[in-house]
Symmetry: C2
Subunit: 284 residues, 2 copies
């Protein structure tokens, strides 16, 4: 029976460390780090997520700046608002909550965030910087970086181990593969066109599920002793992994909720602290 990876505890430790970083920044420069959250429209889940991000940033002593735009906003209107935040020296990190409404050109909006303030790690520069291992160029996408932090917290060996990432989104699957590769794992990326997925997952020492389909990853696929990370969050608090049978075989597994989510959020806050320190020239 697998041991649970406690994302709430790991996330809270990270947030506690962030609170110390905020204190150091305020002591050095008299400026509080500021995270701007940009929400376009009023999707209930997105409203909840942005509120959580603001609450957590304030809990560690940061300022948060709430920017809300009507669902009918044009790409140009969203870009203009983000560009204003980009130019504002009092704003250190910018989070554009995704998904944005379909009629808005999401990529153009993301690319308006300068990489120095791209604390959500969504720009091409951030992805490239992480993929090529360029220190200080952009920030890692929060969910995959959170997963690496969680694996580190449980001292999961990655070098030379086989990792299978299920999903290939720009926000999760692709940067996850690049981050596991940077840690010297042998990485396989699977997706909807992958044949015989079960046999491929069965080769993995570490499995990351990021498909967005409830209980899609079957317990019988898991190699005994493997580490299973569930980045899915489907209706009814259900992950992408069929938890009970997977937990029978895995050595470590993330619960849903309380696994990947809290660490993702803590990474965002930590990036904001780091971004502020870099912008103000403070060494943390």
């Amino acid at each position: 029976m697998a041991m649970l990876m406690d994302g709430r505890a790991v996330g809270q430790r990270m947030l506690d460390a962030c609170a110390e970083k905020v204190k150091a920044i305020v002591a050095a420069r008299g400026t509080r780090p500021c995270l701007a959250t940009v929400l376009v429209g009023d999707d209930p889940a997105s409203v909840t997520y942005t509120r959580m991000k603001r609450t957590r940033s304030e809990a560690v002593g940061m300022r948060s700046l709430k920017v809300e735009l009507a669902a009918a906003s044009t790409t140009e209107e969203v870009v203009a608002r983000v560009a204003a935040l980009a130019a504002d020296p009092a704003v250190h990190g910018i989070l554009v909550q995704h998904p944005v409404p379909r009629h808005v050109d999401e990529r153009r909006v993301f690319e308006t965030v300068p990489s120095a303030k791209d604390v959500d790690g969504l720009t091409l520069t951030s992805f490239g910087g992480v993929s090529f291992g360029l220190p200080g160029v952009g920030y890692g996408s929060c969910t995959p970086e959170g997963i690496v932090r969680l694996l580190d917290a449980y001292q999961v060996e990655l070098s030379g181990r086989r990792a299978v990432v299920i999903g290939r989104s720009p926000i999760l699957g692709k940067p996850m593969a690049m981050m596991l590769l940077a840690r010297d794992a042998t990485v396989t990326i699977c997706h909807s066109r992958t044949r015989d997925l079960g046999a491929i997952v069965a080769e993995a020492d570490v499995v990351v599920a990021a498909v967005g389909k409830a209980r899609f990853v079957q317990g019988a696929w898991i190699k005994p002793g493997a580490v299973v990370v569930d980045a899915g969050y489907n209706a009814g608090n259900i992950g992408d992994v069929d938890f009970e049978p997977a937990a029978e075989r895995a050595s470590l597994i993330t619960p849903v909720p309380g696994g990947v989510g809290p660490v993702t959020l803590a990474v965002l806050i930590d990036h904001t602290a780091t971004a502020t320190a870099r912008q103000l020239g403070v060494t943390l």
Copy 2:
């Protein structure tokens, strides 16, 4: 016994098509596409490569602009020269021959190339654009894109097949993985820390060797009927694959030389034609 993939023939067909594109651009705008080649120092292999690139571009009717900088040039000097080419509307594509001397910050130099002129596909924006499937954002790195063109020329099915990329460089292994993923292959990235490489290669329907070690990939590793692409080019015209035994088992294999190299070069020229057309607003 494998059939050879004839990179010279495929590359020449691409160059012939480029010559037609150049004619169309000249007819529409009276401007010849121009590729600038930037060589820092006098490494003999780099001298040869840049000369080949100039010769091929001129052969299809382009202008080529030869820029040579002393090996002792500082990063700032190289950046200034590339920035001047970036600002010159008569230059449509910029190739910075790599590797540059060790004391030069290669990434800073690459990033000075605007993505519209990044015909070698080395900037973070180009890598991100290719990785995320954003049409018109930058250009693919030439060698992996050439490999995809070669596979296409031989109608190699990629969707749902298992591809193994050996090597994880920013110029070859990583973009190769992203391009194969875009074609719906299930992709595994291997490298120096990979354990039991032979067993992993044995699972592959398509193998791309990009390690830079002569005859590193053994014939016995190849699954019978697999497609083997050798992107290595080691001293003495020797590839990364132990050719004879691999050819016994593969269905298709690239020779070295005459496989990946000529297609890589043709991709660079083709990118330059495309970049020119985009910059001048010509529809090809």
